[in-house]
């Protein structure tokens, strides 16, 4: 969380992590589409020039005031393709909250695990542990045929029993719930761990 006492601003960084095509971009598109125009910045999206797949999405959102500070939330996605290591590390740098978007399709079970391991390693590389970063799991694509049972997803990806939400992001199901639960968790974390918002207010 970045605080600028002079400007009285707090900036929170939320990252949507997960394997390629799990629905991270869809989450951001749905969120961006629903927030009032006055509160949000443009949805910035980058394509890779070679493969024409969406590489990165970002948009800022003004959330209101907290203890006299204007609160801004920056939403990011990471590129799912395995070779974008440096990019994922850069996006995770200074992250305040993570949504891990898992794909419920049976064929994506391994990809979920690989991406989850990558996330843990990248956090570790910057001296942080997943359990110290507010995070939430979104079990996306619950409408696919033969979806991986939630119990299996919970057991394999969420042994720490963090919050989780079932979703069908393309139909906007579970998208807002995920986002609001995470933001609440982030601010609870700040209050509990640091308490400096109140101190600086």
């Amino acid at each position: 969380m970045r605080m600028n006492p002079r400007k009285r601003t707090l900036t929170v960084k939320i990252v949507y992590y997960g394997p390629g095509l799990s629905g991270k971009t869809t989450n951001l598109q749905v969120l961006h589409g629903r927030f009032p125009a006055d509160n949000k910045g443009a949805l910035v999206q980058l394509d890779t020039e070679s493969e024409r797949t969406l590489f990165f999405d970002y948009f800022p959102l003004a959330l209101g005031n907290l203890a006299g500070f204007k609160v801004k939330v920056d939403f990011f996605t990471v590129p799912g393709q395995s070779f974008y290591h440096a990019t994922r590390r850069a996006v995770l740098d200074g992250v305040d909250g993570i949504v891990f978007v898992a794909d419920s399709s049976p064929s994506r079970e391994e990809a979920n695990g690989v991406s989850h391991g990558d996330m843990v390693r990248n956090l570790d590389g910057s001296g942080r542990k997943l359990e110290d970063v507010p995070h939430i799991y979104q079990w996306n694509k619950r409408d696919v045929r033969g979806a991986i049972p939630v119990k299996v997803l919970e057991r394999t990806l969420n042994p720490e029993q963090a919050l989780s939400v079932e979703a069908v992001a393309k139909d906007a199901v579970g998208v807002f719930e995920t986002q609001s639960l995470l933001i609440r968790a982030v601010f609870n974390h700040v209050r509990a761990q640091q308490g400096w918002v109140r101190k600086h207010a």
Binding site: V44, L46, S50, D74, Y84, A90, D93, G94
Partner: protein, 254 residues
């Protein structure tokens, strides 16, 4: 008095530095190494240069710098329009770095490029493709900028104009270094990493090499100094250490 912050890209990535500059609405200059700098106005990048390259192309090239000192020199806003959204520039730079890292060890061959318009840098690399040397080696030989050739080469690959050699004749690229004997120490280009091997960090490699040399583990030391050269081509310290390692090894063998 101007406020100055010093650091090293070995410890703090350029992506982190730029995100910090944006978040702090930084104005002034960030200088990276000897030849590279970026001008800021209230958190926006308004100027960038590296050698004779300027603008967005320079920002992209700066993301390929693996090891250099940087200085944040706070001052007056630097004139000029924003080169782009800072996070977009950061993500694009990271993408270029990742793609270049992926492309460097690839051994490619030309399938068909007749009639395809190529910029001079790309043309130089494509001309050098022989199915045995890797992209990094060729790019270094012809002096092509990585950020300028990444996307065109990937596009040529995607369109089938180039193809990856499945079983290259010159698979262990470190061989290139050894084949030319002692003269190889002074060769202008370092050897690139074989596929699936990450490009090492310069200081880690140098430290590993020095420790190995002290305990007379010549093979380990040699590999580590080659890694250092890979991270920082033509580096004098790594080159001298490599030469010293080989001299000591040869002395012991004789």
């Amino acid at each position: 008095m101007p406020e100055i912050l010093l650091g090293h890209l070995h410890h703090v990535s350029l992506a982190s530095v730029l995100q910090l500059a944006e978040g702090e609405s930084f104005s002034g200059w960030i200088r990276i190494g000897e030849k590279s700098k970026m001008g800021f106005s209230n958190g926006n990048i308004t100027q960038a240069s590296i050698g004779d390259l300027v603008g967005v192309a320079a920002v992209r090239e700066q993301f390929l710098i693996k090891s250099a000192r940087f200085v944040l020199d706070k001052g007056q806003p630097v004139d000029g329009p924003a080169l782009g959204h800072v996070m977009s520039l950061v993500m694009d730079g990271c993408r270029i770095a990742d793609e270049w890292h992926r492309l460097c060890p690839m051994v490619l061959d030309v399938v068909e490029v007749d009639g395809v318009a190529l910029q001079p840098d790309v043309h130089g690399v494509v001309d050098g493709l022989d199915g045995s040397r890797c992209v990094f080696e060729i790019a270094m030989k012809v002096g092509a900028r990585g950020s300028g050739v990444v996307d065109p080469l990937l596009m040529l690959l995607e369109n089938g104009n180039l193809a990856e050699v499945a079983d290259p004749k010159h698979e262990l690229v470190d061989d290139w270094f050894f084949q030319s004997g002692d003269q190889s120490v002074d060769a202008p280009a370092p050897t690139p990493a074989p596929s699936n091997r990450p490009i090492p960090e310069y200081y880690d490699a140098l430290d590993t090499g020095r420790v190995a040399l002290k305990i007379r583990e010549f093979a380990t030391a040699e590999a580590a100094f080659l890694d250092a050269l890979l991270a920082r081509p033509e580096d004098r310290i790594a080159t001298q250490n490599l030469r010293r390692t080989r001299q000591l090894r040869d002395l012991e063998l004789s």
